[in-house]
Symmetry: C2
Subunit: 315 residues, 2 copies
C-alpha cells in the first residue's frame, strides 16, 4: 500500500504521522515549530526530522502537508501563515526537491475535512460543512464529496464572518467576527470574566490567576458540574448555532461536523448549537435541519487528512 506520511504544520508544533489506507495512525513524531521570524530552512529542517523519524529508514512514497495558513488554489504555495515563516513560498516544490519524494499541500482545515470525509464523521456524505473550533474558527466546505477550495484556495474562512456590527475587535483587523464569540478563545474569555464574581472550580484550576486559564480547564470544570464553565459552553455553543444557521442557509448541507479542541466537550457544546441552529434557520418547517455532529478525529485530524491527500494525489 506504500508508506504515506501526513504532517500537520501548526503554529506551535509539527506533528508527523504514518497513516495507512484505512486512516489508522501507525507512528507519530513531534517537533516544536521554530516560529514565524526564523529562516524558512529551520522550519524545513524540523519537518525533515519529523518525517525521517516516522519513516525510520523505510522509503517514503509520499508526504502530505497540512499548513496552518493560506494555501493557494493550486496547492503550491503557502501565501501567508500568521505563526509560520512562509510568505508566498513554493512549499510543495521546495520540499519535493529537498526530500526527493512527491509532496502534496493544503491548509489544515481542508485536511481535517478530508480526514472526516474519508474515514470519519462525514464518510459517504456529499455536502458537508466542517467547522474546526480551536483558538479561533477554521472550516471547510465539502460539495459533491470533495473539498471546495475556491478561487484563492480560501473558501471556508468562516471565523471572520461578521456576526456583530461594531462588535469585539478581532486579530484580523475586523470587528465582531464569529470567532470572537465562538471559539476556544471566546470560551476562556467568557469564563475569565466570571472569575472572582462567583464561586467556581476554575479558581483552583488556574491557581487564582486568570491568565493561566486555558480551554481544557473549562472543559474539565464543566464536566464536574461547574456553573461558570457550563455557562461559558452555553454561550459559545449558542453562538456556534447562530453562525451555523447563516452557513446552512447559504449552502444547505446534509451534515455539519464540528472538530478542533473545543469539540472535545461534545454535547455540552453541540446541544446549545443544535437548538440555536434549529431556531435561527430560515424555512424551518419546510426543510430538514442538518445534524450537527462531533468530528471523529482529534489533534491528528490534519495529519490524517494530509496523508490521504498525498495518497490521492499520487494515485
Amino acid at each position: 500500500m506504500g508508506l504515506f506520511v501526513g504532517v500537520d504544520v501548526g503554529g506551535t508544533k509539527v506533528l508527523a504521522a504514518e497513516v495507512d489506507a484505512t486512516g489508522a495512525v501507525a507512528r507519530t513524531a513531534r517537533r516544536s515549530t521554530p516560529g514565524r521570524r526564523v529562516d524558512v530552512r529551520l522550519l524545513e529542517a524540523a519537518l525533515t526530522e519529523a518525517v525521517e523519524e516516522v519513516a525510520a529508514g523505510r522509503e517514503v512514497d509520499g508526504v502530505g502537508l497540512a499548513a496552518a495558513g493560506f494555501v493557494d488554489a493550486a496547492g503550491e504555495r503557502v501565501m501567508f501563515a500568521p505563526h509560520l515563516p512562509w510568505r508566498g513560498e513554493e512549499v510543495r516544490r521546495r520540499l519535493t526537491d529537498l526530500w526527493g519524494v512527491p509532496v502534496a499541500l493544503d491548509n489544515d482545515a481542508n485536511c481535517t475535512a478530508r480526514a472526516e470525509l474519508r474515514y470519519g464523521a462525514a464518510r459517504d456524505a456529499r455536502d458537508v460543512l466542517v467547522v474546526t473550533m480551536g483558538t479561533g474558527i477554521g472550516g471547510a466546505v465539502v460539495l459533491g464529496g470533495r473539498v471546495h477550495r475556491g478561487r484563492n484556495g480560501m473558501a471556508g474562512e468562516f471565523g471572520h464572518m461578521q456576526v456583530v456590527p461594531d462588535g469585539r475587535a478581532c486579530e484580523c483587523g475586523g470587528r465582531g467576527c464569529w470567532e470572537q464569540y465562538s471559539s476556544g478563545n471566546a470560551l476562556v474569555r467568557h469564563a475569565r470574566a466570571r472569575l472572582g464574581h462567583e464561586p467556581t472550580l476554575l479558581e483552583e484550576l488556574c491557581s487564582g490567576d486568570p491568565d493561566l486559564l486555558v480551554g481544557p480547564m473549562v472543559t474539565a470544570a464543566a464536566e464536574d458540574g461547574d456553573l461558570v464553565a457550563r455557562g461559558a459552553f452555553a454561550s459559545v455553543g449558542e453562538w456556534l448555532g447562530v453562525g451555523l444557521a447563516n452557513l446552512v442557509a447559504a449552502f444547505d448541507p446534509e451534515l455539519v461536523v464540528i472538530g478542533g479542541g473545543v469539540s472535545a466537550a461534545g454535547d455540552r457544546l453541540l446541544e446549545p448549537a443544535r437548538t440555536a441552529l434549529a431556531r435561527s434557520l430560515v424555512g424551518g418547517g419546510h426543510r430538514t435541519v442538518p445534524p450537527v455532529v462531533r468530528a471523529r478525529f482529534g489533534p491528528e485530524a490534519g495529519a490524517v487528512g494530509a496523508a490521504d491527500l498525498a495518497r490521492d494525489s499520487l494515485a
Copy 2:
C-alpha cells in the same frame, strides 16, 4: 432549435417568455398571479394562458418554471411559497400532465443565476455568487459552472443570514436578517424615515404620503442628485458589501453578480458595496477580492433562466 418557454411565477405577476438558444426573448405574455389563498387550478390556468399566448398556436417543446418559493432538491415540488397557493404540490408532474409537454422547475433565484451564467454577466465563470435584490434578498451559489441546489434545494437563502443580533424583526420570524438592512424594502424604509426631516424630491414623488413611496422613486431621486435618496443607497450598498464579505469568506468565488430591481441603480448601489466588501473581507492582502458586477438581465431573468433550464433538461 425548438420552441422553449420560460415562465417566471412571481408573487404579483406571471411572465412567460419565448427564449431562443442565445438567450434572446422573442415574445412575452403577462398575467396577474391569482393570490395565495385560491385553488391551485386558478394559478395553473393563468400559467396555461400565458404559455398559450406566447406559443400562439405553435407546438411547444418544453416549458421551464421559475417559482418564487422553495423548490425541492429534485425539482419536482414547490414546498412553500409565501405568495403562491402551492404547498408541497408536485408542480412539475401536474403541469407536464396538463400540458402534454416536458416541464422543468426551479426557484426564481436559481433561474436568474442560470440566465447570468449562460448568457449574462457570469458567462464562462465557474464559482459565482448571485444575489438578487428585490423586495428582499434572494440568491444562488454557482460552483464549478453549475447552480448548487443543496440538500433541500434551499442553498442560496442569503437574505436570512443574521447580520445584527436582536436586530430588526423579519417576516421570516427571525431578527436582524440581512434583507432587513439591504433590499428594496430596506431602501424604502431608510428613505421614508427621512421624509419630513429634510428637503427631498421624494416628498413630491410620493405626493407627500410616505406609504406611497416605492423603490423606483428612490432610484429616480438618487439619479437627480437627491441627498436623502443617495443616503439610502449608501446605507443599503454598504450593508450589501458587509454581507457579501461573509459569503465571500465562506465560498471564495471569482465573481459576484447583483441582480433584482434594486440593481437598476448600478454603481450607486455597487460602489459602496465594493468598498465595504474590500474593507470587511478577511485576508485582504493575500487574495483577490472578487469583482462585484451588475446582472445583465432585469425583470426577465427568471423566465430566461427557466427556458434555459427546460432546454437543458430536455437536451
